[in-house]
Amino acid sequence: MEYVVFYLFAAVSVAAAVLVVIQKKTVYSALALIVCFGAMAGLFFQLGSQFIAMIQVIVYAGAIMVLFVFVIMLVDPEAETYPGGSLRHISYWAIPLAVMLVFLLIQAFPDFLGSTAGNRAPSAPTEGTVENLARSLFTTYVIPFEVTSILILVAILGAMVLARRSD
């Protein structure tokens, strides 16, 4: 049963990812990416990371992709692959090279391919609940946590300064 759920979400996410790459209109790519993020949130749930899955839906699919759609609508809603720049002459090489890249990435982890060490239910200290995450985030990783708050502040200010009209 778990395999059925995994393959369902995996198929949806791979199909949506391929749609992101091959769509002509940018808006359709953004929508396909939202679908891909939703399917990956399902996979995150299956991996026992409930909090991260909800954050994926709320932050990634709900905020970042909405920002993308805003910018697409602001800049050029009808944006398409430019004539003369379509995928035709490159895509023949892209597919076998992508397959080679997948094999290369898989070869980097030969130990994991046959092992069954990960096939256990998440125990209490490692379950992806908010409490477990917070316990680690605010003790071991509190310094990166505070630094990312500065990072977000810098990003906000940078985006505001950059996109401001110079008149």
């Binding site: 992101v20 800049v75 692959t81 992806g128 906000i156």
Partner: protein, 100 residues
């Protein structure tokens, strides 16, 4: 329980799709979306290993990757807005001058 290897293979496939997208597309916003796809593939690998090793640190990493990706998306999209305003195009092949 689905073995960890399945998640790693899926992560590799999504990453490769993202790489192909970044290298073959010429619209800068689509390239940026494929970068986000690559980041998500890495998040999946992090979480698969977090469950495999029985540690919570992988999920903390994903937390920070998402935060940095959000900040990067904000700044990158602001740059894209400025680019389109200056050059009136979103084609990266047209942006081949350092001037402006």
């Amino acid at each position: 329980m689905v073995p960890t290897a399945h998640y790693l293979v899926l992560s590799a496939i999504l990453f490769a799709i993202g790489v192909v997208g970044v290298l073959t597309r010429r619209n800068v916003i689509t390239m940026f979306m494929c970068i986000e796809l690559m980041l998500n593939a890495v998040n999946l690998a992090f979480l698969a290993f977090s469950r495999h090793l029985g540690q919570i640190d992988g999920q903390i990493f994903v937390f920070f990757v998402m935060t940095v990706a959000a900040a990067e998306a904000a700044v990158g999209l602001a740059l894209i807005v400025v680019l389109s305003r200056q050059k009136q195009t979103l084609d990266v092949d047209q942006v081949n001058e350092m001037k402006g």
